[in-house]
């Protein structure tokens, strides 16, 4: 089936230096309709996994086979971003077209239009001419999401997209992702398994190794079996949690 073709495959991938690699002998495949939630303890290698997939960290061993025609859209963590840099919201989104434009490319009215459409999709169209540094954390994250999407990628990688986002937008964000997932594959790192499990289709537990659990329901026993010591605690008023009682 066309819909079930594999878009990304990691074969025996090891990342990191020295005796203790950050990721060890990872096997992981993602289909073009997947929505994978990546969970695991801090320092377990979740961010490293994403950075390896987008090509920022070359694997020491193994192969990464990416079947997409465009580079994956990538939303990094924004903790250490320069907030005094002179760049407008619209310019940040346009920078997501670098792969298409190359060094000599010029932006056209159509590019700008597309960028604005994504900003409107994220409900921040009115901020297009604002300086990126003047925005709140949640708004910045939305802008970076637009940057990741403007090139119409076949695969979207999100690193803790809910860090700075208020509860109000969090629902919004997940609705957006669900809609996007109708056409593209999504891999999302999150510390908040309670919230994501109602949106994702499968769960990857990352703690030096990777176990791909092909369901969005996971129990404490299974997490233990995967050597993935995180706690299944849902905090706050989380709607539609599919976690079993514990």
């Amino acid at each position: 089936m066309e819909n079930d073709k594999i878009i990304l495959r990691l074969e025996n991938v090891t990342v990191g230096y020295g005796q203790e690699p950050i990721l060890k002998n990872i096997h992981f495949s993602v289909q073009s309709t997947d929505f994978v939630g990546v969970i695991g303890p801090n320092g377990g290698g979740k961010t490293t996994l994403l950075r390896t997939i987008v090509g920022l960290l070359p694997p020491r061993e193994g192969r990464i086979i990416f079947e997409g025609t465009k580079p994956p859209g990538y939303l990094p963590q924004i903790t250490n971003m320069d907030t005094t840099f002179p760049i407008s919201v619209l310019e940040v989104v346009l920078s997501g077209l670098m792969a298409k434009k190359g060094f000599f490319g010029r932006f056209t009215g159509k590019d700008r239009q597309e960028a604005v459409q994504w900003l409107e999709f994220a409900r921040i169209g009115h901020l297009r001419d604002k300086s990126f540094g003047s925005l709140s954390g949640g708004q910045r994250q939305r802008v970076l999401l637009c940057r990741a999407l403007v090139n119409n990628p076949e695969l979207l990688l999100l690193d803790e997209p809910n860090t700075f986002v208020d509860n109000n937008f969090e629902n919004d964000l997940y609705q957006m992702l669900r809609k996007l997932n109708e056409t593209i594959a999504i891999i999302m790192v999150s510390h908040d398994i309670g919230t994501i499990s109602s949106y994702v289709k499968s769960i990857a537990c990352v703690n030096r190794n990777l176990h791909h659990h092909k369901s969005n329901i996971i129990t404490n026993e299974q997490l233990e079996a995967y050597n993935c010591p995180i706690q299944l605690i849902t905090h706050g008023n989380v709607p539609h949690t599919v976690l079993p009682k514990h």
Binding site: L56, P71, Y74, T84, F85, P86, S88, L94
Partner: protein
């Protein structure tokens, strides 16, 4: 000064040098400041002193020695911090002082007349020669072309080089090219402000511009304008008061900065009340 300008050729050359170095320092300085590589640029500047001394010793034009040293130290810093686990600020501090040390030794060993060190350390825009102007003019053309052709890549890579790397774009070559332009800008402008003072032309105009706008292109243009303005005003003032030109240019630029800041502060206060 106008009358003197028509009479003295060296004054005309000084004026042209002020304009040309204003162009390159305004553009390149924006890259330096927005990338937060001010300290790196300071290191490159001081390391170039080693080449200056070596060229002197062998009787070559000091500017060539300085150019070679600054380019190699710039690429060396980039290489050492990318490929080894050395801390970037330690590497910069090392090359900064090693370059100075090499320069001092070579100048000490150079037999006979001790050259006029002060003009290279603190600048002496009135001693600019035709060859300096040619180099500055060539660099201005290259820099303007580079910034016109690659405006967006420069801005985007400066903003978030990691993201652009994920687009399979060779960021390293691009940044190295820009570092070479930074090195040449510094070396070719040494006559204007001197090794010790040149960083001001790469930082003060940009800081003034950034208080007025947060638009990247406007910052580029305003930086060039302020750099030229400061250099010419400093040159005129130093001519009239018969004081060192390099130091005067910097103090004029700083005065413009203070003036801009206070004007904006007053205006904001006035608006609020």
């Amino acid at each position: 000064m106008l009358e003197a300008l028509l009479t003295y050729k060296f004054l005309q050359q000084a004026l042209i040098a002020a304009i040309l170095s204003g162009i390159v320092c305004g553009l390149i300085g924006t890259y330096v400041v927005t990338n937060r590589i001010v300290f790196l640029s300071g290191g490159i500047t001081h390391a170039s002193f080693g080449g200056l001394g070596a060229a002197w010793f062998w009787g070559i034009n000091p500017i060539w020695g300085a150019a070679v040293f600054s380019i190699f130290s710039a690429l060396g810093i980039e290489f050492l911090t990318e490929k080894t686990k050395l801390r970037i600020d330690s590497v910069i501090g090392m090359l900064w002082t090693v370059g100075m040390a090499v320069g001092i030794l070579f100048i000490y060993l150079t037999p006979g007349y001790t050259p006029n060190l002060m003009s290279y350390l603190f600048g002496s825009i009135l001693s600019v020669e035709i060859i300096d102007l040619k180099l500055l003019a060539g660099l201005s053309v290259v820099t303007i072309l580079f910034f016109t052709l690659f405006l967006r890549p420069i801005q985007f890579i400066s903003f978030d080089k990691e993201y652009i790397k994920t687009h399979r774009i060779n960021v390293a070559i691009f940044r190295s090219t820009l570092l070479i332009l930074v090195s040449l800008t510094i070396v070719f402008s040494i006559k204007v402000a001197g090794i010790i003072l040149i960083m001001s032309l790469l930082t003060i105009p940009q800081t003034i511009a950034a208080t007025l706008t947060s638009n990247y292109v406007r910052i580029l243009i305003l930086s060039v304008i302020f750099a030229i303005l400061g250099s010419i005003a400093g040159l005129a003032l130093s001519w009239h008061l018969n004081i060192p030109s390099g130091a005067t240019i910097i103090l004029v630029l700083f005065a413009i900065f203070v003036l801009t800041k206070t004007t904006i502060a007053f205006r904001n206060k006035f608006r609020k009340s």
